[in-house]
Symmetry: C2
Subunit: 208 residues, 2 copies
């Protein structure tokens, strides 16, 4: 409930910043692709990373693949909304990407890891944060194991981290369960959250 | 953000109480019928009223049409969630209807006028309140005039009341614009709000 009366005839909420997070391996990337292909008019923010490009990934679409030196430049210029060192590689969100995306007038969706989401929430309290969870711990481990692009040691580390990340679900505004074989349901829930939040009274514009 | 960690694997929000409100003539009844026919599994609460049954209305579906004496009995037994005297007739929501609907495990949707919604919000802070608005004041007047079931005097009163009701939109959680000829969009927004609120972290069960 907001303090001041509003004009309900001209009710239109400002573009929103939507943070899609969750443990590694839960399927955030695939959901993001599905949202991109859904025909809805979102603007997407591309994360910068120093990790090597995986097969099938495209620079500027999946990530901005940058050198460690370029990444250091962005940190020094305070041009990252959040950044972190994950499994030996740097990842971060260029502020300029978010500003440009919001200026388009579209809702902005970005994928952020659980640690990064906490930072975004502090800097941008107007952001809508969605935690994507698997349906069970077994499924989480299965997904991480199936990816199979890393050594046993880094896989163990990834599983242990994902388990810790799952404990932070309650810090988010929404939880969406991404059940195996039921991605349509998860996509529909994310779309519903965005649609609903546009109807919410008292939503403040994002400032960054 | 809630204080305690939750189990995200078994995340399931409790049945919700959804209040559909808005000025007289905005089309709440039609939206409610559309939601009823949408195939989604809502439970509906039927309002008790002392006003006469209009052509096409069905007792127990559109309203519980009761005598003034029966209505007085319910008030005395404190068995109404809210009630009001509107245009010379009494309307009210039997608490037992809401309890039974919630006990079914389904989400409960009920139509409440703007004054009544304020009362429900106080008694049931967990309720989700949706204000249905027309797209313009001209459209509001047109709808009220087209109904054409009343005297000029009561029409004037209804229009004046509806204008006042529009000023209370900001007291609600959500605003849905019910544009002429675009009811599908309004229904989709209401469904999205309910779907989204089921994903919300920290939702408390309704107590009544």
């Amino acid at each position: 409930m907001v303090a001041e009366p509003i004009d309900p005839y001209n009710f239109r909420s400002p573009p929103m910043l939507v943070v899609l997070s969750g443990p590694s391996g839960v399927g955030k990337d695939t959901l993001l692709h599905r949202l991109r292909d859904s025909g809805l008019d979102f603007a997407f923010v591309v994360t910068a990373t120093t990790r090597p490009c995986r097969p099938g990934e495209v620079h500027g679409r999946d990530y901005l693949f940058v050198s460690k030196s370029e990444f250091a430049d962005m940190i020094e210029a305070d041009e990252l909304l959040e950044f972190s060192l994950v499994y030996g590689d740097y990842k971060g969100i260029p502020k300029q990407q978010v500003r440009e995306a919001l200026a388009s007038g579209k809702d902005v969706i970005m994928r952020v890891d659980v640690q990064g989401a906490a930072k975004v929430r502090k800097l941008v309290p107007e952001a809508i944060t969605i935690f994507v969870a698997p349906e069970s711990e077994e499924e989480l481990v299965r997904r991480l194991t199936e990816r199979n692009t890393e050594s046993d040691e880094s896989l163990r580390l990834r599983i242990a981290t994902a388990r810790e990340e799952m404990k932070r679900a309650h810090e988010f505004d929404f939880i969406v369960i991404n059940r195996a074989g039921q991605q349509d349901a998860a996509v529909a829930q994310i779309v519903a959250i965005i649609m609903a939040e546009h109807c919410r009274v008292g939503r403040k514009p994002v400032r960054l």
